[in-house]
Amino acid sequence: MRRALRAAPFIGPHLVLFAVFGLLPGVYGLYIGFTRWNLLGDPQFVGLDNFHEILFDTESVFHDQFVNGLVNTLIFVAVSVPLLIVIPLLLAAGLSRKDLKGAGFFQGVFYIPGLISVSAGAIAWVLMFNRELGPLNNLLGTDISFITTQPWAWLTIFVLTVWAGIGGNLVIYRSAISAVPRELHEAAQIDGAGTVRRFLSVTLPSIRFPLLYTMVLTTVGSFNVFGQPMMLTKGGPNSSTKVLMMNIRDLAFGTGASIAGMAAAMSMLLGVVLMLISAVQFSVMHRGIRG
């Protein structure tokens, strides 16, 4: 008991913040998901109606929006998560070479885009991809309308995501790689292992915890994607990049009366998907650590 009291000042502030900004809104959001509410009048309890309509009523517009949004979100996650793991990992491995000068500078260069807001970054990238004025079409000698045609619309989103997102994981991987005992590399080298072999057999197993940790966080972050498609493609062309968070925001805080109950139900279902995937990842992670 005394130990718990001693820990309280340390854990307390975070616990309070988590309760106020995480737990309470989450529970309240769950409640709203069971209601029909316009955020102004009195919420009407409708039980599981919203969830039933979203999941099973194939005639419903909200069902279509949920399915389309979820599929687009899954496409984003399936492509962006590997990119946000592999690219920073390779960069970190390259920057960790002892004979490389200016590694810190390059780490800073890769990290800075992450400090820039998605909106500002998107404005810059919209100009880069501009069909008439952008340098990309001029360099490639092409006439591609990147923002309004597929698969280019997705490409613009992934470029912005990777540009803004590699810095965070890169710092974690560099730190983890620098902690790998040098003796392991030397022993492998004596055994005749080359650079690639040592990376696969020494570096990767040694940093598996930070690797899995970043995988979980990157996946969770990617499921909540909103800014990149909102700023770059506005969900187009033909809703092909309209992710679930855009539909949720459109319903709750769109151009007309709020349809908060349906929006909250969709966000809860997205949360369930996230929890399931995170549970699988954590399970793999724990197995990896024990193994």
Binding site: N38, G41, F62, T255, G256
Partner: protein
């Protein structure tokens, strides 16, 4: 370390004081508005001019992005705290908030300042704040998508005739097919939804002819979109991914449907010789300008005393008499004293209210579900016009989407207790 508890105590006290200091207890009036663009600077000046008269309750100008403004309204209404003394609401949103019972009627303001009455305002603007026979808003302005044209290009490509009757039609634009060089366009299409809205009204249609009854698949919508698709196929609309403002401002488009609020931006372009005319139409018969209106409204707040309401009324009355500056932003002041003044006649947008015939062309989109309709038009118009979705399918999608939202919203539309 010993000082730490004192620091915490001081911080807690400041926080408590700040929390307790709600707008209804301060000696300033909180004025929320969505004027974050160029127009915000002009309204800020009007507020400063009002405060310079040394009123008992000076006004605090608080602009915020439109989406944030309405989200904050939801928050303060539910918290019943930090409710602004007065705010600007778009006429299209008044039915929603009035229907939910969170707006006060304007009786308090009109009783305190008798000149705040329909006779002293442009009638269409005044009526846009009326729901179910009760008036909730006092109009600041009318604003919306009209038509800008490049005088030099219009002359160069022989399109002056389009402007003879001050009404440019889609059919007239279609005659430019084959007459323009590859990088020059009849018009740039940022505001396609505005063009559709005006075109449908011009043909005698309406997205919501009766409250709750949506007609997105009507012949009028089909006709307007079909014409736009053809213009796009003929290369007369600037490419979808181009910057419409840049296209027009750099002399690559003869016409630009753009908001009245864009006037100051176009004026800033050196060498751009442009004029203004009525919105793009389908037919020269019964042309319409479909506009919006910023309205002063008050959210219900039991803690706001009569003195504060009187002070709000004094501020709104000041704006009524002193909103010529608002015309600098490109908007059309709703105050009769201003829009009928000789000084206002010098403004390019003044033609919209210059004659009774022009005033009869003014329509305001403030049907009960105008927000859903506007959202659908913005979400789907480009897919239709640029041929990714057939016209009929796109309109059917919009119809279903709006109907579903209306069903949900109306079912949830209980009034606050």
């Amino acid at each position: 370390m010993r000082r730490t508890p004192k620091v915490f105590a001081a911080a807690a006290m400041v926080a408590a004081l700040l929390t307790g200091c709600s707008s209804s207890e301060s000696n300033t009036l909180t004025f929320w508005n969505p004027l974050t663009g160029d127009d915000g600077a002009y309204m800020r000046q009007i507020v400063q001019d009002y405060n310079a008269t040394k009123p008992q309750y000076p006004v605090t100008f608080q602009p915020m992005a439109e989406a944030d403004l309405y989200t904050k309204v939801y928050s303060v209404v539910n918290a019943e705290d930090d409710i602004p003394d007065v705010m600007i609401m778009h006429a299209a949103r008044i039915p929603e908030f009035a229907g939910a019972g969170v707006l006060t009627t304007d009786e308090t303001l009109t009783a305190a300042q008798p000149q705040l009455k329909r006779d002293n305002y442009q009638e269409t603007a005044w009526d846009a704040g009326t729901v179910g026979g009760k008036s909730y808003g006092i109009p600041l302005d009318l604003h919306g998508v009209i038509m800008y044209y490049n005088k030099d290009l219009v002359a160069k490509y022989g399109a002056e005739g389009f402007l003879d009757d001050k009404v440019v039609t889609l059919d007239e634009l279609a005659t430019l097919k084959g007459k323009l060089p590859p990088d020059t366009y009849a018009f740039a299409g940022l505001f396609i939804p505005g063009v559709v809205d005006a075109g449908v009204r011009n043909l005698g249609g309406s997205a919501e002819p009766q409250p709750g009854k949506v007609e997105m698949t009507s012949p009028q919508f089909t006709t307007v979109y079909s014409k736009l698709v053809q213009l796009q196929k003929d290369g007369l609309i600037a490419p979808e991914d181009s910057d419409s403002m840049q296209v027009f401002n750099s002399g690559k488009a003869l016409f630009l449907p753009d908001g009245t609020w864009g006037l100051s931006g176009h004026r800033a372009i050196k060498g751009l010789n442009f004029g203004l005319t009525n919105a793009l139409q389908m037919s020269p018969d019964k042309p319409v300008n479909v506009l919006g209106s910023h309205q002063f409204v008050q959210l219900k707040d039991g803690s706001r005393g009569k003195e504060r309401d009187k002070a709000v009324a004094a501020f709104v009355e000041f704006v009524r008499k002193n909103s010529l500056k608002w015309a600098d932003s490109g908007q059309i002041p709703a105050s009769r004293q201003v829009f009928e003044s000789p000084e206002y006649a010098k403004y390019p947008q003044s033609f919209l209210t210059a004659t009774s015939e022009q005033q009869s062309m003014l329509k305001i989109d403030a049907t009960p579900h105008a927000g859903f309709i506007s959202g659908a038009l913005w979400n789907h118009s480009k897919d239709i016009v640029w041929g990714r979705v057939p016209v009929a399918q796109g309109l059917e999608t919009m119809q279903k989407e709006i109907e579903a939202k209306i069903a949900e919203a109306d079912a949830a539309g209980t009034k606050r207790d």
